[in-house]
Symmetry: C2
Subunit: 205 residues, 2 copies
Amino acid sequence: MTDLQNQNKQNQILDALQALLRAKNIQNISVSEIAQAAGIGKGSIYYYFPSKDSILDALVERNYEKPLETAKNLARQTEVSPFTRMAMIFQACRNSSSAFRAQETPGADVKEDAFIRQKYMKHLISEMKPVLTEIIQQGIAQGQIRFDHPAALAEIVLIVLTVKLDNALAPSDPRETEETILGLISLLEKGTENPEGSLNFLMTW
Amino acid sequence: MTDLQNQNKQNQILDALQALLRAKNIQNISVSEIAQAAGIGKGSIYYYFPSKDSILDALVERNYEKPLETAKNLARQTEVSPFTRMAMIFQACRNSSSAFRAQETPGADVKEDAFIRQKYMKHLISEMKPVLTEIIQQGIAQGQIRFDHPAALAEIVLIVLTVKLDNALAPSDPRETEETILGLISLLEKGTENPEGSLNFLMTW
DNA sequence: TACTTTTTTCGACCGTCGGTCGATCTTCTT
DNA sequence: AAGAAGATCGACCGACGGTCGAAAAAAGTA
């Protein structure tokens, strides 16, 4: 079987898992269920993946590849304002992370699918950090940003946004999340020596 | 049986789990193992805890109670500088979180005990946020801090520090971690309108 | 086409796990 | 002392992740 056909089959399994993930968390999804949803036998799952965890890994990878690509492309568009590019990156992250985001569980506490989201966040932060750092450095070179620690700034922004986006590590109602983002923007304005309110457009949530 | 004796028994189980946790991750520790390490039968575990997860919850709670107590006490000591109190809180968090921190796994990637650390971080952030917010508000009232979003600032600082402290969500070598903390301090100085270098003492890592 | 070989599919099966349960032992009460 | 209430236990249960060899499907060969 060609690599392409092989990937199709893997994607078929990944699609099934992603669909199931919308209704319940990983711990409550059995391999048999995934197989059934994918329309294949349970044994076949293990022909394409060595373990249940590895299916999750693959799904995470498939989901963060797209925003990463977007970010890398944006890093090259030096004619666009660095903050605008930052906003576009966050939007891309937001869209693709929705597959894993903690659902609104009104009465009960947040579901314990910590595992997969942590994996997603970890990869996203580590892969996105150098790209965002580069964009910030361009902003410094162009005089739009005044700050001495571009890599640190990139990581701080990524950590806060990823954690708040996920809404499981530091769960908040929308109102509180907005307040935190507003504070981050204010902190960014003062930190990068931009006038107050000039970064409000980042608030596209 | 008195409540005190009951708590002793629970602590005995918690101690056993904490000891086992140093060697392997949760997923690889069975309830029978915990029982054996605690010197009791498996069934007795379920006399004191309703589920395996609840044992973890209790262990997490036991570990974040102390720094939380410390923080609450500090919140009352308005004569001490808010930043000094912040530093003391971080130190307390640092000490008590070591039970869950990701070990240095030289060759391999970070162990997958994500679950428990995420739980610890979540509780720590949510419990610590109001306390730290109060301290920041005091700093604003006293004129040592100039910033419009005290709660947001508290959450941002807590998120970044907790994530970096944990070293699993955004793993870095010590050199890189230092750079990020340095950047956070710089951002804090500019954000709270304090002179550059004035918060360097927070760097007690 | 007829055959062998290789790839792919499958579900019964295995060991282990979290959790239950009634039997049993211990400790309190009167 | 005797019964009630509290505490302990490990055999047992259903379900899970993962294995395996048989068998079906596909590909190669003449």
